[in-house]
């Protein structure tokens, strides 16, 4: 743990420098901003978590607000990754003897950090990996988008003590669940983190993870304490997910293409503007609808309507920032609800989403809805 703290004003100045350098797509300046602060005594952990991390969060916020494009966000993320690499280059790896990977009875020393399959936002996991390295753990960082079979093969072959899984999108919860169960079947504890698991980690508990941490510092502290998992394989992966027996998640997931087609068809009848859409706009709309279905499926998996309402209000905000009225979104939810007659939970989640949308103050342009 750090004995030295960095004055927050210095970190704020470094954040500003880094932000400006990213805006100019100037990798050299971005690297210099962080390395200069390191030279002046700021601990690497503070730079990772109080400079690079918050700047990345700000990038996401700017994108959601429509102030930067996806290309800018990608370019900045690529530079951030290189800045992390440059900083890591300065931190010597702890000497690790393969035979002495754990002090007897002590906390775990070797940690595998990975993003779940389909998760491309690797920076949070990367930051955790570097923080853990800095605190003396032996870290295997597997990066973004790790198929579960690769993760398990890695665990068998390396003798890791504990696994840290990262996921940012709740639509990956079922995939994350499969990964958590697979790791536990190998007899290892799993710590999870990332926005996918809910602001309070509620989905981490639901999926039976052995630990959840709201940020990298908390994760490192938790790992230093040692896993709470007994090390015994779980025999009941379903755990608190008995609601899945109603098959709604499975059936909604399976019917995704038909649902998307149904909603698109309906939208063309209810939203006149869609008639003039070109193929590309039509496809964007289809992708947006597919995304709604994916989030509905995830909220059914977690049995938490708040997951769905959180998504639709966020989407409404993103659309508003781009000057798109939210009417089409409400119409899409109504069309989806029509198709879910036999699915009471899905209907309830859609209704909750609709209520949340109608509550959100929006430009007073009542769409031409029937």
């Amino acid at each position: 743990m750090n004995t030295r703290t960095t004055p927050s004003t210095d970190l704020a100045a470094t954040r500003r420098r880094l932000w400006e350098a990213l805006g100019a797509r100037d990798e050299a300046a971005a690297t210099a901003a962080v390395l200069d602060a390191h030279d002046e005594g700021a601990p690497a952990e503070d730079l990772l978590l109080d400079v690079i991390g918050p700047v990345q969060a700000r990038l996401g916020g700017e994108w959601a607000a429509g102030r930067i494009g996806v290309a800018q966000e990608h370019a900045a993320t690529a530079i951030q990754d290189r800045v992390v690499a440059a900083l890591a280059h300065r931190t010597p790896a702890p000497a690790a003897e393969p035979g002495d990977r754990r002090t007897p009875g002590g906390p775990p020393r070797r940690v595998t950090v990975a993003c779940v399959d389909g998760e491309w936002h690797a920076l949070p996991a990367r930051l955790l990996a570097e923080v853990l390295r800095g605190r003396g753990f032996v870290v295997d960082y597997l990066g973004a988008h790790v198929p579960t079979p690769h993760l398990i093969a890695h665990l068998h072959q390396t003798g890791t003590d504990v696994v840290a899984l990262s996921s940012s999108l709740p639509v990956r919860l079922p995939t994350a669940h499969a990964a958590i169960s697979a790791v536990q079947a190998v007899g290892l504890p799993v710590l999870v983190g990332g926005a996918a698991f809910g602001p309070d980690g509620r989905y981490a508990r639901l999926l039976g993870a052995d630990g959840w941490a709201p940020d990298a510092r908390a994760a490192a502290d938790l790992l230093a304490e040692g896993p709470r998992h007994s090390g015994e394989p779980r025999t009941d992966p379903a755990g608190g997910l008995s609601h899945l027996s109603d098959q709604e998640y499975t059936l909604v997931t399976r019917a995704r293409p038909q649902l998307v087609r149904h909603v698109l068809q309906g939208l063309e009848d209810t939203v006149p503007a869609m008639a003039s859409y070109d193929d590309r706009q039509r496809e964007r709309t289809a992708e947006d609808v597919a995304h709604i279905v994916d989030f509905l499926a995830a909220s059914l998996y977690a049995d938490d309507p708040e997951l769905f309402t959180g998504f639709v209000t966020w989407t409404a905000g993103v659309l508003r920032a781009r000057g798109v009225a939210g009417d089409a979104l409400v119409a899409a939810l109504d069309l989806l609800a029509q198709a879910q007659r036999d699915f009471p939970r899905a209907r309830a989640h859609l209704a909750a989403g609709r209520d949340a949308l109608v509550r959100v103050p929006r430009p007073s342009a009542p769409g031409p809805r029937s």
Binding site: P104, P149, L155, A185, R256, P257
Partner: protein, 560 residues
Amino acid sequence: MTVSEDESGRSRAPRGATGTSWLRSPHPAVVADREGGVVEFNDAAADLFPRMGVGSWLDGVVPGWLADAHRRLAVPQGTPHAAAATRPGGPPLRGNHDGRLLRAHPTESGHGDVAWWLVDDSDLTAAEDALRTEQERTALLAEASTQLLSSLNPDRCLEKAALLAAAHLGDAALVISPPVRNRYPVVTAVGERFDRSQVAMDPTSVPGLAEALQGFPPVPARWIDPAELPAWAVPEDFGEAPGSVAITPLPGHGVPAGALLLLRRGGQSAFDASEELFARLFAARAGAALSAARLYAEQARVTRALIAELLPPQLHHVRGVDFAGGYRTSQDTERIGGDFYDVHPGTDAGQETLAVLGDVCGKGLEAAVLTGRIRSTVQALLPLADDHQNVLRLLNGALLNSRHTRFATLVLASVGRADGRVRLRLTSAGHPRPLILRSTGHVEEADTGGTLVGALPEVPCRSATVHLAPGDTCLLYTDGITEARGGPLGSAMFGEGRLRASLADCAGLPAEAVVERVQMIAGDWVGRGPHDDMAVVAITAPHTTRPSAGSDRAPDRNTA
């Protein structure tokens, strides 16, 4: 159920003649009055309590627990609660007599006399105890199997075996593995702690250890004299000299998996026959799990060594040009497939770098083996890379002469720098044409074409020369990207149009970001559906303008 059944001829003439059938009951029965005087008893009772006679006091002829119970029942003094235990219908009263376990059931006659029916429970109780022990051990063995088999990592498996043995078989357990360079890896577990060490020792120093480590022929678990145990075999935190020690082999799959040494403290009971059997059953499971883990580790080591050359290489910055590559196999369980790419820097600064990306017909391991051949052949042909036509002709010849019947498509890209720009010579052999992304967002196709290699005797081709200005990118990709099926409606082909549109959004991005974005979009397109191998390589001319510095030269990034 065994009861005192012998028909002795002794006659204890009971008083009263009513209902004498109980007198012939195989179960001992005694009737006593309120004061504890024996009123009647049957033959079985006489055999059980030889001093019993009519009129004798219970206190003198039956065990104290039974006499006490009679007193409580016949003369309830204390709380009703105290008597409840001996009331008819209450839980049965049990006690020992003469090495037997008796169950006593009272029946009240109504005028103070109490009849005691006694059942000999010795054998039943013993059987129940044995059953419980057996059930516990079965559960434990099942649990041990689950824990031992869950990991295929030999170190973890050894730890589990030692910890389980220390928890359930002894006070401490040592798992001794076959030697590595004359040192024996030993995992020692005491309670919930374990330690690993390498011991240089002579296995004959512990009686039975050498045989156990040989693994075959099978030797039974055996006792050894604790005094014969060498110092290394007694854990430091064991606290005292062990009272009893057993050694049992860990039988593996034809190879010795090691030996298990169990230690108990002096005060603890020694191992009995059933515990020894249990230790052997446990050892069989631990040995099988260890063997499986070692076998897997060995296979994984072999596989790693064999596929190392087939894995896609890490690409980076080469002489003023950024290269980045991304690969996704068709099967999540595989690490290699039928797509491949390589970047070969020229031997000196003036020489061009050769990038190659291709796709062997088919997927999986067989295709991957052929990618290895093609990659080494191309590497061998590097000195001739100035002439793509020639490289393809020779490669085609090599493939036609090989025993493989597969063919391949590929694209060659020779990359050099000239006048602050990057110059590319691109040649496609039956492969999707490279796409050029300008920093303006404009996407064009390189005008190159040719026949695939490995199928026909001649491979005519046409090369294209393209210049990249700073911020421009050339994308090489395999048809796994464009032919990916999925999308919001489920079964549409991703297609070149969508690839171009996605690429247009990547204007000005660094090479890694372009690769990552293309992979991400194609990956999201297929979702969880099936797909072919997908490979992408981006060749990017880095931005040389730095607005903040006003210089038109980027610093060398090779150090990053």
